[in-house]
């Protein structure tokens, strides 16, 4: 009996590892920025290139930094959610327009609506590298003290918001 028991156990544990492994999305990588201060940036504003949008602007309260671009399909998908969230007035949303075309990005906000308090224009992707961005949309939750609390990959929705962001916001005392 024990002759078969040990190989069987090894086989079963291997299967367990595979089942867990297959359920994972390999494109979802943990961000090394979590629990660390948000990377500094100082970029021109998308809407008014005379103005700057900097790390100072996003600190002081819990906020979202949403990485988007007009070429990004997922960004269009989550845009309505972002508009609703900004209307719900839960927290300020900042945009990081990544690797995009300025005039097109401005047109996008005019046509679809602008959920952002301010949008930084990262034309050459240099700030994107500092933030470890590798695919839009990405959304960072930044604490009042400026640390990165969470990073979400892919388009957001109310379901994902409730599941991933709300518990963190409650822990921050931002939501009841």
């Amino acid at each position: 009996m024990s002759r078969f028991l040990i190989p069987l156990l090894i086989f079963a544990s291997l299967i367990a590892v595979f089942v867990v492994g297959l359920g994972r999305d390999p494109s979802e990588l943990p961000s090394p920025l979590l629990e660390k201060p948000a990377p500094q940036f100082d970029l021109p504003s998308l809407l008014d290139p005379e103005q700057r949008v900097t790390t100072q602007d996003i600190s002081g309260e819990v906020s979202l930094v949403n990485v988007w671009a007009t070429w990004c399909v997922g960004c269009r998908q989550e845009h309505n959610f972002l508009l609703q969230l900004s209307k719900a007035d839960v927290l300020p949303i900042y945009g990081l327009n990544w690797r995009d075309n300025g005039p097109e990005a401005r047109r996008w906000l005019q046509q679809l609506g602008d959920p952002y308090v301010a949008t930084a224009y990262d034309q050459d992707g240099r700030v994107g590298i500092d933030w470890g961005v590798y695919g839009a949309p990405e959304t960072f939750l930044i604490g009042a003290d400026g640390t990165v609390l969470y990073k979400h990959l892919g388009p957001l929705s109310w379901g994902l918001w409730e599941e991933n962001f709300v518990p963190l916001l409650k822990a921050q005392g931002q939501l009841q």
Binding site: P26, S27, L29, P30, S31, P32, L33, P39, R99, D124, G125, R126, G128, I129, D130, W131, G132, Y134, G135
Partner: protein, 137 residues
């Protein structure tokens, strides 16, 4: 016929020139060599099974540009790898570094090999003790 075959074989072996960036990055051959080495060790996070040397995703282009800048500014290879790991995590490197977190990747193959040898040894020893069946049935 033979000649034709030979020519076809040669044609099949011909490779198109592979160049992601049109221009050579550095005039200095030493810097160019370091550059080539680094970009063939870094994973393109957008297209995970390609190095940034092979990928034409714009993220890979951005990272190559950043690495060129750092080499020009005199950063060491280690500083450049650290820069990438800080932002994208250990996964950005094709050759994970030995650290607490990645130790298992380095020792697991050795342990598995030793385990296999032990099992094999056990089986062989058991077989050696078996009586030899003279009939060969």
């Amino acid at each position: 016929m033979r000649k034709l075959l030979g020519m076809l074989t040669l044609l099949a072996l011909a490779m198109p020139a592979i160049a992601i960036d049109d221009i050579q990055a550095f005039d200095d051959p030493e810097l160019q060599a370091r550059y080539e080495e680094i970009i063939s060790e870094v994973r393109c996070l957008k297209c995970q099974n390609q190095t940034i040397k092979d990928s034409n995703a714009f993220l890979a282009g951005d990272l190559r540009r950043e690495i060129r800048r750092m080499l020009e500014e005199g950063f060491s290879d280690k500083e450049i790898y650290d820069f990438l790991v800080e932002r994208y995590g250990e996964f950005a490197l094709y050759r994970p570094r030995t650290s607490g977190k990645t130790l298992i990747l380095w020792i697991a193959p050795g342990l598995l090999l030793l385990g296999g040898i032990a099992v094999l040894g056990g089986v062989l020893r058991k077989r050696m003790n078996m009586p030899i069946d003279e009939d060969g049935a």
